[in-house]
């Protein structure tokens, strides 16, 4: 995956289209590789984890990085940081993927409903979107989690409400534009039912915009989950997530910084990779840019 980037540089005199097809910048390549690695780790967590996440090695507490038994060191209870990191990646990615999909689905559906029915439905959806945008999401999550307690399902569903208003606005705007003129009105004119117009024609045409929007929401959800876990309202021990590790590791920041640094590093690289790849994807999917 990284190789085409090297080849792309000396293309001279090729057409604009050829250039953009071959271009595969090095950062994008790194980002893709990192994301793939994260997904592989998340999927195979049970097999590649050297220790169980709760197993304690009491003779090796707060052990430094580079210890032959614990490469990334251990925490204050002698739990292996690498095993916990692998499990955290799985939980955090699960939350982020689940929440992004929920958010995209809810937002796009509401946006399409607003575009199709117009009138009162549209007003209602827009009002909800404004309400969601005006309210600090963290405060709302805190309130919900404080009331209902925290479980992984609830957390995913709650995070799923993050950013839906953006999809709703995008989907509504693009669907109205499409059905006002052009291909969608042409298909309506052929006698197609609204479900066909929206799912077979409008959705594929606006998918690129929505996908890019997802790559923007995804890192934000990882960060949001990290913040909530850091505050102790997200993933509950003994389960672990990236933010949860950062939160509990902060007490040992001066004596054992590796507990906190490893998950911080993963959060940073993953969000950065997805942003870079998303940015690149937007240029790729938009025919007017190439």
């Amino acid at each position: 995956m990284a190789n085409p980037a090297v080849q792309s540089a000396p293309v001279i005199g090729a057409t604009q289209k050829m250039k953009s097809k071959r271009r595969f910048p090095i950062f994008v390549a790194i980002g893709v590789v990192w994301i793939v690695a994260m997904v592989v780790i998340a999927l195979s967590a049970d097999w590649i984890r050297p220790y169980a996440i709760t197993s304690m090695d009491l003779r090796n507490r707060l052990s430094m990085m580079g210890n032959p038994a614990h490469w990334l060191g251990t925490d204050e209870l002698g739990r292996d940081v690498m095993s916990r990191l692998i499990e955290s990646i799985r939980i955090s990615l699960l939350i982020a993927f689940g929440a992004t999909l929920i958010s995209a689905f809810v937002g796009t559906t509401l946006g399409f409903l607003a575009a199709y029915f117009r009138g009162i439905v549209e007003q209602l959806v827009l009002m909800l979107a404004d309400f969601q945008a005006a309210m600090p999401f963290l405060i709302m999550s805190l309130a919900v989690l404080a009331f209902f307690g925290s479980s992984l399902t609830l957390l995913i569903c709650l995070m799923g409400f993050y950013g839906w208003e953006r999809y709703a606005r995008i989907a509504r705007g693009l669907a109205i534009a499409a059905s006002g003129q052009g291909y969608a009105s042409a298909v309506t004119q052929l006698g197609a039912k609204p479900s066909r117009v929206y799912l077979k024609h409008i959705l594929p045409n606006i998918a690129s915009t929505l996908i890019v929007s997802m790559t923007l929401t995804f890192p934000e959800i990882i960060l949001m989950e990290s913040s909530l876990s850091f505050l102790g309202l997200g993933v509950q021990p003994p389960m672990t997530s990236l933010g949860n590790m950062v939160g509990y590791g902060r007490e040992y920041l001066t004596r054992a910084p590796w507990i906190m640094l490893a998950p911080s590093f993963v959060i940073m690289l993953t969000t950065l990779s997805i942003s870079i790849v998303g940015d690149w994807l937007r240029d790729k999917l938009d025919p007017t840019v190439s």
Binding site: Y183, A186, V187, L190, G191, A192, K193, P204, N205
Partner: protein, 326 residues
């Protein structure tokens, strides 16, 4: 009107409400103002007029794509079903629209073969195999190659795209085709191909057509009857040859004289004075009187009725005497 007409429109009115600024008083714009027309099977009615004369809106009203504010459209003896009802959707297989901009009317992410098959899918015509064969026949009948079914709209030329749109429009064997400026976005050389294609299709399939255009040469070529619209109203309607040979209404005379004739100098032409009409501020009396060279006092106050003036001809002008026959 006789019962043999495929589609009849009676006193169609379409009013749009426009508002200037946030607190401006809404003004009602009558884009189409009392249009009565009909199209018989296997004939073509040309609708001509300037921009803003309401010809496209008339086309959309005929197809039932918009609900008229007043008046009604009868298709095949039955009133037009309610917009976007099931009956309305089913009726789409019998009446189709050919668009002005074929690139906009096609989905750029779907191969054209699939798009031509779409009306067949929607109206559940035939089996999978039959649809595939039908698409091939359709593409051939509009002069596209069979292997072009897998190409995307942007890979085709403008004329080819319009052929795809026409192939899609005739896929369900419609009885009525409304062509809304189908050639005005095309090169002149390609215009002729598309016009000939439409004529051939009409001959072989007996499709009735409403052909909307501002290009008089094209309209003259394809139409059996022509209706001239001015500011939302039909001012003259007559058989194509008659109206071009001997226009009666002053506006039609101006239009016809504006067509350049090869080899003759541009003199003896009626050049219309004044601004194109604004439907929001309709002049009193005959809407054409501010630009009319032969306007009288009566034209300023009295709206001329759209009446029969000769056999098969109707006009709305005080200067053209009405006849008693209908």
């Amino acid at each position: 009107m006789s019962a043999t007409n495929l589609i009849e429109a009676n006193d169609l009115v379409k009013t749009y409400i426009s508002r200037k600024g946030l607190f401006g008083t809404p003004t009602h714009v009558r884009a189409v103002d009392g249009v009565t027309l009909s199209v018989a099977p296997a004939t073509t009615l040309g609708i001509v007029g300037e921009s803003g004369s309401g010809k496209s809106t008339t086309g959309r009203l005929l197809l039932g794509l918009e609900e008229p504010s007043e008046g009604q459209v009868q298709f095949d003896g039955r009133p037009m079903p309610k917009l976007k009802s099931n009956a309305w959707r089913q009726l789409r297989s019998r009446m189709q629209l050919v668009f002005q901009d074929p690139l906009a009317a096609l989905d750029r992410r779907i191969p054209i073969g699939t798009q031509v098959a779409e009306p067949l899918d929607i109206h559940a015509v035939g089996s999978e195999k039959e649809r595939k064969d039908r698409v091939e026949t359709l593409l051939q009948s509009v002069g596209l190659r069979r292997d072009q079914a897998s190409s995307y709209p942007h890979e085709l030329s403008g004329g080819q795209r319009q052929r795809v749109v026409i192939a899609r429009a005739i896929a369900t064997n419609p009885d009525l085709l409304v062509c809304d400026e189908p050639v005005s976005a095309l090169d002149v050389s390609i215009q002729a191909q598309v016009i000939n294609l439409l004529r051939d299709l009409q001959e072989t399939r007996g499709i009735a057509m409403a052909f909307i255009s501002h290009d008089l040469k094209v309209v003259r070529n394809i139409s059996d009857r022509v209706a001239v619209m001015y500011l939302g109203r039909i001012v003259e309607e007559a058989p194509s040859e008659d109206i071009f040979r001997r226009p009666l209404h002053p506006y039609t005379q101006a239009l016809v004289s504006s067509v350049p004739v090869p080899g003759t100098a541009l003199k003896d032409r009626i050049i219309l004075q004044g601004e194109p009409p604004n439907p929001a501020a309709r002049p009193s009396g005959c809407a054409f009187h501010p630009r009319c060279a032969v306007a009288m006092e009566r034209c300023r106050v009295e709206i001329p009725a759209f009446v029969s003036v000769e056999a098969g001809r109707k006009a709305a002008c005080h200067l053209v005497p009405a006849t008693s026959e209908t």
